[in-house]
Symmetry: C2
Amino acid sequence: MKPTLTPFEYHGDFLEVLDQRSLPNDVKYIVCRSASDVASAITSMAVRGAPAIAIAAAYGMALSARRSSDMKAAASLLLNSRPTAVHLKKVIDRMMVLPREAMEAEARKIHREDLDINIAIGRHGTAVLPADCHVYHHCNTGALATGGWGTALGIVRSMAEIKKLSHVWVGETRPYLQGARLTAWEMMVEKIPYTLVSDNMAAKLMSDGKVDAVLVGCDRVARNGDTANKIGTLSLAVLAHHYRVPFYVAMPLSALDEECATGEGIPIEERPAIEMLGYGFTKWAHPKTPVYNPGFDVTPAALITGWVTEQGLWRPQP
Amino acid sequence: MKPTLTPFEYHGDFLEVLDQRSLPNDVKYIVCRSASDVASAITSMAVRGAPAIAIAAAYGMALSARRSSDMKAAASLLLNSRPTAVHLKKVIDRMMVLPREAMEAEARKIHREDLDINIAIGRHGTAVLPADCHVYHHCNTGALATGGWGTALGIVRSMAEIKKLSHVWVGETRPYLQGARLTAWEMMVEKIPYTLVSDNMAAKLMSDGKVDAVLVGCDRVARNGDTANKIGTLSLAVLAHHYRVPFYVAMPLSALDEECATGEGIPIEERPAIEMLGYGFTKWAHPKTPVYNPGFDVTPAALITGWVTEQGLWRPQP
């Protein structure tokens, strides 16, 4: 169970962040020396994934604490870096009640806890999924999106370890291509059998009986179970419902927003148009193309088979 | 009703093909002097769209007829250039019963007929769609995919002409990006209000009540109404069914395969892996990534609200 990939490493006076924007072509690192640097790394998607950005934010707070910065300003910068995931807010709240000198140890603890949570989710996930399972996975929820193991992809890893996994369909996840760039790369590094597909091939795969379960992560879950996650999750949930394929959400309990009764209360981030017009310096659409680019959607609880948490299956409040 | 874009122009001793692979960045042309040249233009997707490749193939036959080539070999090359669309086969059959000297006139006639068919589909389409309509459109079925007007996008054009259209959601259509590259460009040229989205945003749009109808084209329709079309069509049909959004197929009657009882008889082309790994010279996935790239899927008749043909609504045979 040794994690082989990690989205960042904390070195006391700086956080070294693996720049996921250039993966898998280039393995580059960004040095963050303050909460402001970390907030920029989050906004620019150098680090992404709800659990990973929460841990990075905790380290950002620790860095600012060392520098005797204004902690309220640091917290506010980090809180506003991405609005949809709730882990981030919970971590900032947890840090803000501590004295400065306790923040570094707390950030390291949050990181360790996340890894433990992931491994527990993996263990519980293996219990609910069928043997010889063909999984369809969306976005990236692996080592790169977390403290180093993964939530939905942590379940995939755990299933591969106990030889319960046949194969993973890796949905490319437009527009940011987290599946094609990050999940495919993780599967290659881990030697887990996988095949890359476009998001709009999922229906054909399910219709052809090639998917035994859909596994996704989550950015925020309302009390009633409505689940915000990467754009395209809702589409997969409707398809899975139609084709009677089990649809599981890997959910660290920190993704639960107790203050949110239903999915309607979850803010949905809109991302820049440029993500839709091309990739890197290459553009395939006209630069003046009008674009709608919501980063997330909300899947109603009724379309979800189960939420796998570190404590086993979670049940929404009716 | 003047078409402003055309995928090719016939000049007697050559067919000038607009190279759609480099659109909208570059407007380049390919000169085809034989059936073999035309077959290459079809296989490489320089010209694509079921009606357009059928017309191009007719011109290819005419070019080979001028050169006293082996007509059976010419027909075979063209027939094998893309397997899923049935228009192509029908056009080749129609040409092969003619003497060489009649082929050029027949190819021009097939081209003119396609334009008339498109305009009739557009007229019938406006009758079935609601006023102030927000349409979701997949792939490219416009002037570039046909003789110069469009099938599903021909209905969009016709609706815009009579001010019945509010707005078009242009699905980018991975992996080949026909929506982002071609449909968005056509809408821009035609000054029709549109917004580009990723394929996996369609569920959110429907869930948010922002889609009044889905409009797609087709490559082959079985007698029972099962419809092969660009990969991702099945996903949109399942979503539209779930959200009770009308789902219409624009269908030239030449897309009907009378020899095919159900969708199971329709051959589905698999496209090269490279289309999934990047765009042009830019790659975002590892070159050794295993890929599945079916070019089409089959939507069962039960998920389709109606088939709009040049003779009005078509009914499948029970």
